[in-house]
Amino acid sequence: MSVLIRRRPVTVSRVVVVAVLIGAAVATIAPFFWLAVSSLKTEADIFASPLALLKAPTLANYASLFKQFHFAIATLNSIAISLGVVVISVGLGGLAAYGFSRYPFTGSRVLLSGLLITRMVTPAALVVPLYLIMNALGLLNTLISIILGIAVLNLPFVIWVLRPFFDALPREIEEAGLVDGLSPFGVFLRIAVRLAAPGLVTVALLSFIAGWTDLLFPMSFATTPEATPLTSGLLQMQTGYKIYWGSLMAGGVYLTLPTLILSFALQKYLIRGLRLGY
């Protein structure tokens, strides 16, 4: 069939297809590209002329993030939150997905359907009671409260994505493990986890991004700089009186770069997760 296609001459239509796609690609990166370029201008240059090119790039806006807006501690907080979400979601979710896949029990299908429905819960609705619970537990202004909130919304998604992965694994190897005297948990830990590694990488990546990008829980649960990650840290730059445009742009780029690098490096996994996740 490729022979048939190759024989077709290079037509005008193909040129049009490529041109339209490149145009769409430029439009797609334009907003972020613009943000990145503007973040390297001084605040005076940002306001001077919108379409002026970058004359003297400066990292002053990035420096201001650390000097004025506590970005050093916010970065550490973001990393801690993301890792916490990964550990809880992949740990608990991996075990549960494996259980649902290999050892279905009475009611497990109902539970799985229930889990899909909990994925649809409006996060802002869950924040209301969770805030009161965290308050009662004395966990407000801690990273723990933020991690718990993000993880509980992420966990059903992880189970939903991982279960088909375990379903698709050949059973023979795991059975051999059972015959050799491993417990089901041992089989999970020593055999299934390795075989399902691509799936686990996918959900770990998506969980990390979920923790890194979440704004709702940090802005609801934490008001002190000690517990504020990058996302809600960005909100300090737009107060009712003044918007610190330079810092805001630099902060937006700073927040985006790790997820961009991760997504490009693990693009295959990201697209797979995106396809399995719905």
């Binding site: 490729s2 048939l4 296609i5 297809v17 490529v18 339209v20 769409a24 690609a25 797609t28 990166i29 907003p31 972020f32 943000l35 919108p50 379409l51 608990l92 075990l95 549960a96 259980g99 290999r102 050892y103 279905p104 029990f105 497990s108 889990l115 899909l116 429905i117 909990t118 649809m120 409006t122 996060p123 802002a124 609705a125 209301v128 009671p129 969770l130 009161l132 909130g149 993880a151 509980v152 966990l155 379903d167 698709a168 059973r171 059975e175 059972l178 089901p184 948990f185 704004l215 960005l234 937006g252 780029v253 985006t256 997820t259 961009l260 997504s263 490009f264 995106l274 396809r275 719905y278």
Partner: protein, 324 residues
């Protein structure tokens, strides 16, 4: 197919030596069957406890709270309020407006995403099939990397980017068109829709792309031999074949947009001007944290959860219907 996999009997401990898996499960020992089920339950238990503690219990307490009055600004006491919060909700113009704004946002945003995502997916698939040379593959990989970018951008960063682009003082959009429009103030809902559609378009694109590539090439050959042009090929071959995926994707995106839109609106318009873009999740949040009226907020949240559960259940039904 997935159904078939799910129905395969699970392996039984210690019985792997004899025949196939099927023969094992036909005569399972009563004790083994029970222990097998306990194993599954045991593996799922930590996750279930976690979800019950931080999702189910909070939602139950939310329902209780929605029948109470608790507004720390007025009084620290929690008093039984009957249906008062729900009566307020039913009669409040603020709530009606918010629901309407959310519906319009969802419909428009999903329509834009689907149209653009599908168009790019069709073209990209054409390119992948046509260009089998090395530079051709490189080009499609590069384009794939570019199109995933908005999806990899945190919502708050995307919102900052759009706020910059559409700024009337120094935004390039107004400069290019020689206009002086404060987009987020004068066309707030349309601007928010554009920002959200940009962010979520890749999701649609890659699902559609995968669906199109899974169509048998022979079918296109047949269409070509019949003399179909590009549009006819799409209209009578590609689109009908991927329609189930289109339906599920649109339904999924609609549920997601309706229940989760928050960051983009909060950062760009803050729900304004006035309450013109106050989508439902934002209304809940403001009622909780700005007005500190937990009774009203709980009633709103209960409504949101009921709606999301109904939408989730119907999504499950659509998914089942389209996969069989």
């Amino acid at each position: 197919m997935r159904q078939a996999v799910r129905n395969l009997p699970p392996p039984v401990a210690g019985e792997g030596r004899g025949g196939g898996v099927g023969s094992l499960a036909q005569v399972p020992g009563r004790v083994r069957l029970r222990s097998r089920r306990l194993t599954g339950f045991g593996l799922a238990l930590p996750a279930l406890i976690f979800v019950f503690a931080f999702m189910v219990y909070p939602v139950v307490s939310l329902v209780v709270l929605s029948f109470q009055e608790y507004a720390p600004l007025r009084s620290t006491a929690t008093t039984f309020a009957g249906l008062a919060n729900y009566v307020w909700l039913a009669g409040s113009d603020l709530v009606h407006q918010s629901i309407w704004v959310t519906v319009v946002f969802t419909a428009a945003s999903v329509a834009v995403e689907m149209a653009i995502g599908l168009a790019i997916a069709v073209l990209l698939a054409k390119l992948v099939v046509q260009l089998r040379s090395q530079p051709g593959r490189l080009l499609t990989r590069l384009l794939g990397g570019v199109f995933i970018l908005p999806f990899a951008t945190p919502a708050i960063a995307g919102a900052i980017a759009w706020k910059t682009l559409l700024n009337p003082q120094f935004g390039p959009v107004d400069a290019i068109f020689h206009t002086d429009i404060a987009w987020f103030a004068q066309f707030p809902l349309a601007s928010v829709i554009v920002a959200d559609a940009w962010k979520m378009m890749p999701f649609v694109l890659f699902l559609m792309f995968a669906a199109i590539l899974s169509i048998e090439p022979e079918q296109y050959e047949a269409a070509r031999l019949d003399g179909a042009n590009g549009w006819q090929e799409f209209r009578y071959l590609t689109f009908p074949l991927i329609l189930p995926v289109v339906a599920v994707t649109a339904a999924f995106r609609a549920v997601d947009a309706f229940t989760k839109i928050f960051d983009t609106v909060f950062v760009t318009t803050g729900g304004g001007p006035a309450t013109d873009t106050q989508v439902f999740p934002l209304l809940i949040w403001r009622t909780t944290f700005d007005y500190l009226n937990f009774g009203h907020a709980s009633a709103l949240a209960v409504v949101a959860i009921i709606v999301s559960a109904l939408l989730g259940a119907s999504l499950l039904a659509i998914r089942r219907a389209s996969s069989t």
